[in-house]
């Protein structure tokens, strides 16, 4: 059996808590509350080597120990279910297919860090996830698995649902906190980190849905068991969503370290049409890679060595009919729409990127367009306030690296930039 996160998905009725319990559910929580200290739980999670599955890859156990260390009495556990990265829908299927696993992971986290309130921030579009989790919370409360005195112990843990309203940047943890507080979903300056001052200025631990879904199995089976999956430095499994020009798009959970070639030809049934040209890994904020990387193991370390990132787990496969300039124009349009406007480099930079790629697409780009695109991307990476603006550089720089020649075809070497004058202010005002 190669599955941890999705082991129950499609096998149990997600709306029936008895079936989850029958499959070993809530056993980890019971064992933890009766026989283990919060420190034991944090140690096991640390030893497992689990890193956050939301995209950034921060060690989960370490994050918990920060929240644990705070002396405040009121702390919060937040499950980030604002899955907005284009091409990613793993969290939705986890919540729809096995909602109790997420709740159990959150309760274990609450016990470990000393919190008795949890929130799940779900994007407003995920109606079925909201319904299933609402029912799951009610059912768990009825059986005393959530609420007051869980398993007859002193431990209380309540979970509430917060519904988002359509904003990509709210997936960034501090923007999510602002949104939960009824504010615009703009990111906050760090530090202080949420572990110190998060929701309503209280210590808060935010993890992704998939991260929480790993917790109960780790506590139940131990850190060594978890380390049997994946590679030494990236243990465990990863849930990928595979899409694009392939025969079988969908969701897979595989050990860390599998290659792109295996994903396309073994799991996705091969290309649906045409020949493999490129893939974007990690969603729209992810890197574009060429066929040269088909045999690179997909795990955090090998990719980082090449300057790439695994991101959210979305893998978009494209054939030779896709024009890189057209594809990036679409990516940039997304960023223009989702940039929150807080910092000028992202607000204006995304718009300038979009205009530049539109020119490349029409083969009307300025003679120095690729150079300015590169400079702007590096500027965004270095100076944008939050990961949204910084990540705009990922698809752009990787595309320049692997598909620079193709992009250069959109440049008109005779097209010079007009000097900016009062009569010709060179400002793009039309936002359509």
């Amino acid at each position: 059996m190669n599955q941890i996160v999705l082991e129950n998905c499609g096998r149990i009725n997600p709306e029936d808590i008895e079936e989850y319990i029958g499959a070993g559910g809530y056993e980890a929580l019971g064992i933890a509350l009766e026989r283990k200290t919060p420190e034991d739980i944090i140690k096991t999670v640390k030893d497992s080597g689990l890193v956050g599955r939301g995209g950034a890859g921060f060690p989960t156990g370490l994050k918990w120990s920060f929240a644990r260390a705070s002396k405040e009495t009121q702390k919060y556990v937040i499950c980030n279910a604002d899955e907005g990265e284009p091409g990613t829908f793993k969290d939705r299927l986890i919540m729809e297919g096995d909602p109790h696993k997420v709740l159990e992971g959150m309760a274990l986290c609450g016990y470990a860090i000393g919190a008795n309130t949890g929130f799940i921030y779900i994007r407003g579009e995920y109606q079925l996830s909201i319904q299933r989790l609402t029912k799951a919370i009610k059912d768990a409360e009825k059986l005393g698995l959530l609420g007051k005195n869980i398993f007859g112990t002193e431990f209380d843990f309540n979970v509430k649902i917060k519904i988002g309203a359509g904003s990509y940047v709210c997936g960034e943890e501090t923007a999510l906190l602002n949104s939960m507080e009824g504010l615009r979903g703009e990111p906050r300056l760090k530090p202080p980190f949420p572990a110190e001052s998060g929701f309503l200025s209280k210590p808060t631990n935010v993890n992704n849905v998939e991260t929480f879904a790993n917790i109960a199995p780790i506590i139940l089976n131990g850190a060594d068991w978890f380390r049997k999956f994946g590679t030494e430095k990236s243990p465990g499994t990863k849930v990928y969503t595979i899409l694009g020009h392939i025969k079988r798009p969908g969701l897979i959970e595989v050990p860390m370290g599998i290659t792109l070639r295996e994903i396309i030809y073994d799991y996705a049934g091969g290309m649906s049409s045409g020949k493999f040209k490129m893939a974007q890994i990690g969603g729209t904020a992810g890197d574009i890679i060429s066929s040269a990387l088909l045999d690179t193991p997909l795990e955090y370390q090998s990719l980082q060595a090449l300057g790439h990132n695994l991101g959210s787990g979305a893998i978009l496969i494209m054939n030779e009919t896709v024009s890189i300039a057209d594809f990036l124009t679409c990516c940039m349009k997304f960023f223009v729409h989702e940039s929150c406007g807080k910092c000028s480099v992202c607000r204006i930079g995304t718009k300038q990127m979009y205009e530049a790629f539109k020119r490349l697409k029409k083969q009307e780009a300025y003679f120095d367009e690729l150079k300015t695109i590169k400079e702007l991307a590096e500027e965004l990476k270095l100076t944008a306030f939050c990961p949204l603006g910084q990540s705009v550089a990922s698809p752009v720089l990787s595309a320049l690296k692997y598909f620079g020649k193709e992009l250069a075809q959109g440049v008109n070497p005779d097209k010079k930039r007009e000097p900016v004058t009062r009569e010709n202010p060179n400002i793009v005002l039309n936002y359509s």
Binding site: E83, E125, E181, G244, P249, L251, T284, M318
Partner: protein, 156 residues
């Protein structure tokens, strides 16, 4: 429910604002948050109108202009774009005679573009209110829209 009742149900703490705005919008027959509701909310929540509008206008799911009974949201993100989202827009535009952001004269449909809906496994995809539709092509869209039109005509 009146705005006051909604605030009473959710609690007038600032952190409940998003839920309150959702409820206000959902119970409005024209699927939007009207000016009067914001003014009333300002009193109930003890927040300034600009503060409420500032938060609400940040989020794409909230509208401040009346919309149709059925809101069609077509995904514009790269995975759907690759598999033909543009033709989906064109098919809907030609069938309903409206452009993106507009509402049909009969008040039935509003067409909107949206960021990823998380149903990319069946791209190109769209949502009509809470219902997701995937693997779309021209023919399928015509069928879906006709079915809704017939259902509504039957009621009239």
């Amino acid at each position: 429910m009146t705005t006051k009742e909604i605030v009473g149900k959710c609690g007038n703490k600032k952190e409940n604002l998003l839920q309150i705005l959702h409820d206000i919008q959902n119970q409005n027959p024209d699927n939007y948050i009207c000016k009067e509701a914001i003014y009333e909310l300002s009193k109930e929540m003890d927040m300034s109108v600009s503060e409420i509008k500032g938060t609400a206008s940040f989020y794409t799911m909230f509208s401040f202009t009346p919309r149709g009974k059925y809101i069609i949201r077509v995904c514009e993100s790269p995975p759907c774009h690759l598999l033909g989202a543009q033709t989906i827009f064109e098919a809907i535009e030609s069938k309903l005679g409206i452009k993106v952001g507009k509402t049909t004269d009969d008040g039935l449909f509003t067409l909107e573009g949206t960021s990823c809906l998380g149903i990319c496994g069946v791209a190109p995809a769209m949502m009509i209110n809470d219902e997701a539709h995937g693997n779309l092509n021209e023919e399928k869209i015509y069928k879906i829209l006709s079915r809704i039109q017939e259902k509504e005509r039957g009621k009239a």
